[in-house]
């Protein structure tokens, strides 16, 4: 159910507005229209920066081409608020990447990369080819979400994309390098996980006692380097 997109006839070629929907009375999801690309993601970063300063917005939680606003109190006028957000969307320019570059050494395959054979089999490539393609990618942190310090990384080669599992693995080790749909990432905690593990890295991603607890932030760049291959 969407607040701002009733089934209306197509009227012209103006850019589509974001889909805006409620998650209860204290959260609102704003999803960018169209396919994923870094320009749209940059507009989401810029929108999140702007709405974070609005009264009653506790925080703006960035996702993959979307942002969830969390409110202190239920907004009085949902229609007015979503109109303001759509208006802001149309006039906010995209924020460029330009964060720091993070290099992550990876042990590919092996005990913790247990889904590598499945990724290779789906792609029709050898396991070594999958590793080469993954480690040559240039990735951008789209969002930090799901678990503390977990960055959703964009830039995965379409040849090695792999849908999330319909039944998550019950225990995936912290540090697992994973593929979920068109994204890749490094699991921060040992926990159930629906992504596909292809390797493991020993980088500290999160420190709750730090003023800046997350190593990865939206807009940062990430490069994976082959530390070792275990097939």
């Amino acid at each position: 159910m969407s607040i701002n997109q009733p089934s209306a006839p197509f009227v012209g070629t103006i850019e589509k507005s974001p889909k805006i929907s409620l998650i209860g009375t204290l959260a609102m999801l704003v999803e960018a229209p169209g396919d994923f690309d870094l320009v749209q993601q940059g507009r989401i970063w810029a929108l999140a920066d702007a709405v974070s300063a609005w009264p009653n917005v506790q925080e703006a939680v960035i996702g993959v081409t979307n942002v969830m606003l969390v409110f202190e109190q239920p907004p009085a006028d949902i229609g007015m608020l979503s109109a303001s957000i759509a208006e802001l969307w149309h006039r906010t320019p995209s924020r460029k990447t330009g964060g720091k570059v993070i290099e992550i050494p990876v042990v590919y395959g092996g005990e913790f990369g247990f889904d590598l054979p499945a990724v290779a089999s789906r792609s029709g490539l050898s396991e070594r080819e999958v590793i080469r393609i993954h480690s040559e990618g240039d990735y951008t942190v789209c969002a930090v979400a799901s678990s503390p310090g977990f960055g959703y990384l964009h830039g995965l080669d379409p040849r090695i994309q792999m849908p999330r599992k319909s039944v998550p693995s019950l225990s995936m080790r912290a540090g697992s390098v994973t593929i979920g749909g068109m994204q890749t990432g490094v699991a921060v905690l040992t926990s159930p996980n629906g992504w596909n593990a292809i390797g493991w890295a020993s980088v500290a991603m999160f420190d709750p006692r730090s003023e800046q607890p997350s190593l990865m932030l939206p807009g940062d760049r990430v490069r994976f380097r082959i530390d070792r291959i275990e097939l």
Partner: protein, 325 residues
Amino acid sequence: MIEILTSPAFNTIQDLGRRGARRFGVSTSGAMDPVALAAGNALLGNDDNAAGIEIQTFPFRLRFQTDAAFALTGADHASTLAGSTVRPWWCMRAKAGDVLAVIAPRRGARVYATFGGGIDVPRVLGSRSTHLRGGFGGLEGRTLQAGDAVPIGRSPHRSDGRFDFGVAPPDVAIAGAAPADDRVLLIRVLRAGEYDLFSEAMQAAFWSTRWKISARSDRGGYRLTGGKLTLDAPVEMRSHGVVPGVVQVPPAGEPIIQMSDANTAGGYPKMAAVIEADLWRLGQAAPGSFIAFCEVSYQDAVAAMAPVNDYLAKLRATADLYREL
């Protein structure tokens, strides 16, 4: 200081939760029944957000090492202090050496032990709540176990004040949605983003099914069984922020309600979201019990919080007055 004597598993220190760190991927944690925690604190004259112990496995026993005021709220329980009965939703004063034993609840899932002055563990990212998956907050980021010494803050009230009174629990004092019947808890929800992607038959099944909270349910989320909700065409959604109370439908079709320890993001289609005024009721629903969903308007969802807030405000005012008598 209090000493934990018996704590089977999954009992943790919680306040009302961690705000403002979702953007770093940090879920809120916090009491599953925030009304019970706030009520316990109000009985004692603490800040609403003072940390207490969420007890969800029993029996739980602790020993007071100093004189302290405490309250037990939440699930309807049988408990004793130094062998004498402690009533639910009641505050009392314990003497150094007294043992408090909380026995399995007769109704509800979680008992909250609060203490005059609150539990005084360090705040991490602004909260004392235990973030179990992250291993921080609470006592060393973990569940309580026998032998733990838990620090208590200084009570804001003089020690000769009155502490032996109670309050009617909110499920008695606040009218909720009428129960479907005695054995089914009716939970009010708003539709969420992907509701319209489900066929009319699936939507109808969502509202009419008597859902069972499966044994594979915890502070992270409640898995529901009793039906399957499937989409005609599967959707691969992009990861986005979610909040406790969201009802997601994974491809296998059995809905999951995200709760206090839920991830900050998800990618499954969202059918609905539990309204804030019913989230604490859900926090007291035990695995094996049944729930059903009913739809409310946004205005009614907002208005439903007024009786909850009134209940807590009245309780605080009355307790403040009573303590000074």
